[in-house]
Symmetry: C2
């Protein structure tokens, strides 16, 4: 245990904090729109209904100093939060599987404002290969290894059918992808050094339906 | 505390369980495709790398009995899971805000296979109002209350800009919406009896970027 890399562990921000920080960011943007110049963690706390000490603790991960009584300067807070969350740095990604959801994500220009640029997509459907959606070229899946040689893409967005989810993941990882954004309801397995972010819209639907039925009983 | 509705509380399935059940479902579908007839919790456990006792515990919430040694009948397991998760029951929803992400969700036909039917959308953009996307009509936001009188919609999908997220949520709730699927990075506030499911793609991006940077350091 003596050689545990303490500094690296300190850099690993807890996931709940990372999920709350975008709330503070959107709140700060809203206040700037209203003409405010400063915001305190107490104000943020009141507006989004999260304990003030939690807000202050979360914000302690980002390197910004508040001033006594006035709080954080809003412009600076927005800038620091956007940088910290990785939204100002463009991260290039490939998307795998241009079905209904994959096509929808290619059309969502909002992702770019949060640091994700999908620079290409892969599919095997001859009606899609060679086409573009929203200016993003669709290549044949066999071209993936060749395309990866450019070396500037390290994120893969997974929107394939579940029966090939693992196979495509393995291909991605072999090709050099370091993070998989998994939109399938399939639990993919990856080597330890590969990041997986699961975003299953269907799992979220299941939670919502259950709570709705529960409330209506 | 004497009149706590114990049975209702028992019906409230823990969120982690609800998030894992779709994994078991997709795994069972995959095994059916491969020609299997039975699956045990041990098999599921091995395939998706979740502790077998956890799988068995999660599956104890859905009313299905496994048989000693052979496990669960796959067809029955799929049927019961789909019913339990609400995917076989069509839930009608309205979508609010036909921007980039909202438009993308209207085009995602996959949601229908998981029990969500978006039957209409609202916006104020004159170039959108009166149009259809994927067969789904776009109405002016002012028409919402009138449309709600049909009485068969109780879910609202929120994809508006953050500066009107709270205002539109309040309108939805006043109109009779019982569950809000919030795709905005804004933390909305609702009365206690209203269900909120947050699905912030941007928060998920933030987590992924942070983990990726951490691994690359």
């Amino acid at each position: 245990m003596a050689d545990t890399p303490i500094l690296k562990i300190a850099d690993k921000v807890p996931e709940p904090t990372l999920r709350r920080l975008p709330w503070y960011l959107s709140n700060a943007k809203l206040m700037r729109e209203r003409g405010e110049k400063y915001v305190s963690s107490t104000q943020i706390s009141r507006q989004i209904n999260i304990d003030a000490s939690q807000v202050a603790k979360d914000l302690s991960y980002v390197k910004i100093a508040g001033r006594t009584r006035v709080g954080y300067e809003i412009d600076a807070l927005i800038k620091v939060l956007e940088d910290f969350l990785g939204f100002t740095n463009m991260h290039k990604a490939y998307l795998f599987g241009v079905g209904s959801l994959g096509g929808a994500l290619l059309r969502d220009t909002g992702l770019q404002h949060f640091g994700l640029e999908i620079v290409g997509a892969f599919d095997i459907n001859p009606q899609l290969v060679g086409q573009e959606i929203n200016g993003i070229p669709i290549y044949h899946s066999d071209e993936f290894e060749e395309k990866m040689k450019a070396g500037d893409v390290n994120i893969g967005v997974l929107t394939v059918p579940i029966n090939i989810a693992q196979e495509i993941t393995d291909k991605m990882v072999a090709g050099g992808i370091k993070a998989v954004w998994n939109f399938t309801p399939f639990r993919i397995r990856v080597p330890e050094n590969i990041v997986v972010q699961n975003t299953s819209l269907y799992a979220h639907l299941a939670v919502m339906f259950n709570r709705l039925n529960f409330n209506q009983e």
